[in-house]
């Protein structure tokens, strides 16, 4: 018997999403536990899936027992099992966090919020789990539509930002759909594994080339790869804190996953590297993303907006790893999917907690925060160090592999970009840390007399997720060797 966990982990949030409506209508307070139950189950299912994959290899799940390539097939190998666990765990953490934040920011809309939240997670998980090109499109749109709705319920500028995102997102999705159409026209198949077998004979075909181009642009838009990132900063700045914390770590990473999937397991690496220089172009775009994101982040005074630009730059790291197209680079890229999820999770959760307590997020307004919210700020510092790439946080190790890959590929420009971006991140984050931790001299002129500032730490339901994310940053750093040797080295496509 095939294990049911691959399908369960998508179906559970989907069903519970609809359960939240009647239960929420009856008792508003039930939505939160329902969401937690759903996501915990989903997380357990994803863990089970990962375990099965590690012990017995790739899982093929035929939906409705229809044989592929006619039926829809869920294929879980090391790569998506890995991403599945990340997605389900991060969304569970955000769900735990959401309670107080949603109560404060969206008191009217709790029921709908959790319904759409679960839909969003179901969509993201579906994208990752499926082995069918069209099915992927459907899940992509479920996730995106839920994302538009979640962002739109944010603060003042949110609807407009969300509308912009909707336009770009729809263009991306349509391009993807066109790509699927072109592939179907030339091969007659929608199954990824099947396409992988059929396509090599057709690599010279213009139709396949165009399809590939459509895919890259479509996915690039979804993952906000520079210069297709324009929708991201506004959308993630104005979204409710919880939503930013869910979307920022996951949406872009899932997009990156789709890119890796299409480039290397639908098409062959040889196609993307030799036949058309996609990886080279991707590398340069990624280098642009890294620098552009960091420089734009420097110009921001709003902490959340700064993080949004940093996210643009972090997406660049993943794309750069893919663009290097060698084993070390891809290892770095896949590792960075994990690491960056946790870094962004921690940072956005912290910003949410700061917003919750003080309602402020201008960098210049953060003064005394280390005394008011010591744990939150400590978490921020650790996450910041990780983004900079200070060992032993996890960010260092993704940088390690990326630089290793760049040296292996003799791409000195990329090495330089990676190193310089570290330094830009130093400036970015220490600017914030200085504001939060250091006080101008006159304010403690009385020597040791501490100003009367009471501790106003975030509530426990928010603090615990923050600490979990931070612990993740530290633990994954130290365990990175283990993670790579058990999962990631099998997730990197075989031919590297």
């Amino acid at each position: 018997m095939t294990p049911q966990s691959p399908v369960l982990l998508v179906v559970i949030p989907l069903i519970f999403a609809f359960l939240t409506l009647p239960f929420g209508w009856w008792r508003k307070g039930l939505c939160y536990p329902i969401t937690l139950v759903a996501l915990s189950l989903s997380f357990l299912a994803s863990l089970h899936t990962l375990h099965t994959v590690i012990t017995t290899g790739t899982i093929h799940y035929w939906l409705g027992n229809w044989e592929p390539p006619w039926g829809i097939e869920y294929v879980v190998d090391h790569l998506n099992a890995f991403v599945l666990v990340i997605v389900s765990f991060v969304s569970l953490v955000v769900a735990i966090y959401s309670k107080r934040s949603v109560e404060q920011e969206l008191p009217e809309k709790i029921v709908f919020f959790y319904c759409v939240f679960l839909l969003q997670v179901a969509g993201l998980l579906g994208i990752v789990v499926t082995g069918d090109m069209f099915n992927l499109y459907v899940f992509l749109e479920i996730a995106s539509l839920a994302g538009y709705a979640l962002i739109a319920i944010g603060e003042d500028g949110a609807p407009f930002a969300s509308f912009n995102y909707l336009i770009f997102g729809t263009i991306g999705a349509c391009f993807y759909l066109l790509g699927v159409g072109y592939l179907y026209v030339s091969t007659g198949s929608l199954n990824m594994a099947d396409l992988f077998q059929i396509l090599p004979d057709l690599y010279q075909s213009k139709v396949v080339l165009v399809a590939f181009a459509f895919f890259m642009v479509g996915v690039g838009l979804k993952m906000a790869l520079f210069p297709l990132h324009v929708w991201l900063p506004d959308a993630y700045t104005y979204a409710p804190s919880t939503v930013s914390a869910l979307l920022a770590p996951l949406m872009t990473k899932v997009g990156a996953y789709v890119m890796i999937r299409i480039m290397f397991t639908v098409f062959k690496p040889q196609f993307c590297i030799e036949l058309i220089p996609v990886t080279t172009i991707l590398g340069w775009m990624a280098a642009g993303a890294i620098l552009f994101g960091a420089v734009m982040a420097l110009a921001q005074t709003d902490l959340k907006r700064m993080l949004a630009y940093i996210l643009v730059s972090e997406v660049g790291y993943i794309a750069l790893g893919v663009g290097l197209a060698n084993r070390a680079g891809l290892t770095g890229a896949i590792l960075h999917i994990l690491n960056d999820s946790f870094m962004m999770l921690a940072l956005f959760l912290v910003v949410g907690a700061i917003m919750y307590r003080s309602g402020k997020r201008e960098i210049s307004q953060l003064r005394y925060l280390h005394r008011r919210m010591p744990f939150t700020m400590a978490a921020f510092v650790i996450a910041a160090l990780s983004v900079i790439g200070i060992p032993p946080t996890c960010g260092f190790f993704s940088k390690w592999y990326l630089i290793l890959g760049a040296i292996d590929a003799s791409q000195w420009a990329f090495v330089a970009v990676l190193l310089v971006s570290s330094l830009l991140n130093v400036i970015l984050f220490f600017r914030v840390i200085e504001h939060a931790y250091l006080e101008p001299d006159e304010e403690h002129a009385g020597g040791g007399s501490e100003l009367a500032i009471t501790i106003e730490e975030a509530p426990l339901s928010m603090l615990v997720p923050i600490l979990i994310a931070t612990a993740g940053i530290m633990v994954f750093g130290v365990l990175s060797g283990k993670i790579i040797s058990t999962v990631i080295q099998f997730a990197v496509p075989k031919c590297f």
Partner: protein, 126 residues
Amino acid sequence: MFDFILSKYNYWIYIILMMIGFYAMIGKKNLVKKIIGINIFQTAIILFFVSTAAKRGGTLPIVEHAHGHGIHHIHAASYVNPLPHVLMLTAIVVMVSTLGVALAIVIAIYRRYNTLEEDEILEQRK
């Protein structure tokens, strides 16, 4: 040349429609016009998919007397390909949902800014 264009007229129509939609999404200032652009774009894609399934002389892919009525030779060539149609049914659902979400967002925008012109909204947000 002319023949080439004519023989593939369905693709040309889809490309023209798509470009019209694309232009409206990017170029128009009015938010509702942008949404209409999205719709044209998506309709164009549906047209493309469905037209790829068509066959000259093909008919509905419904096989009568399938079981227990003797041996039938099914000529695949005489039926249109059902799969793109099925895909497009799903795509239409996605399209309608997108439309719904987009309109809801536009209503929220209108309540806030009292206008649907992009430049006026940007003006107000300064």
